[in-house]
């Protein structure tokens, strides 16, 4: 199987490219502790430190908190995923 990475949106080839391409998008950030954060990604760096806006914190699927701005330390991040719909969906 060649070109495994080319299934994704056509322009992302490496994780670094992915990180550059998702700025300004609604994302889901899951932490090692299992807590979920959904919001709009402002910026991030190579350590996976994250800055987000309009962040909602979900614990066990339940909305627990909302933050206007949030910075998350990268070592806690399990994954960053983009979402197709906006964060406000289902609120």
């Amino acid at each position: 199987m060649s070109g495994v990475g080319e299934k994704v949106s056509g322009t992302t080839k490496t994780p670094a490219d992915f990180l550059k391409s998702i700025r300004g998008r609604p994302v889901v950030v899951k932490l090692n502790s299992g807590v979920d954060y959904r919001g709009i990604l402002t910026c991030l760096d190579g350590y996976m430190n994250i800055a987000m806006e309009q962040t909602e914190e979900y614990v066990n699927g339940q909305l627990k908190n909302k933050y206007g701005d949030a910075f998350i330390r990268g070592n806690n991040v399990l994954y960053i995923s983009t979402v197709k719909r906006t964060v406000a969906d289902g609120a």
């Binding site: 991030l44 206007g68 330390r73």
Partner: protein
């Protein structure tokens, strides 16, 4: 918008710098939260110096018989605090509307 010049990309840490000398909310490991004023000192590890801090420790007990959750919070105040960065999970401006 300079999309080409990635050498000058703003990092999340630059945005924390905007909160210097402001009150912030910090979520730590072990179910701890801090609210205090971020002094000029913080670094890329998120080591921080906070002043006029209130620490909240949250514990949840589950009753064996009734299975109800008993949520307890313990608070204490600290005038001047050095926070080691590896315990930090999240940093935010203080919550304006406290939920639940």
């Amino acid at each position: 918008m300079s999309g080409e010049e990635d050498a000058t990309v703003r990092e999340p840490l630059d945005l924390i710098r905007l909160s210097l000398d402001e009150r912030i909310y910090v979520k730590l490991r072990s179910d701890r939260e801090l609210r205090g004023k971020l002094h000029q000192a913080f670094d890329q590890h998120l080591n921080m110096i906070l002043g006029d801090v209130e620490e909240t420790i949250t514990t949840v007990e589950i009753d064996d018989e009734t299975y109800e959750e008993i949520v307890r919070t313990t608070k204490r105040t600290i005038d001047y605090l050095f926070v080691r960065g590896d315990g930090v999970i999240l940093v935010a401006p203080p919550l304006r509307t406290a939920l639940g």
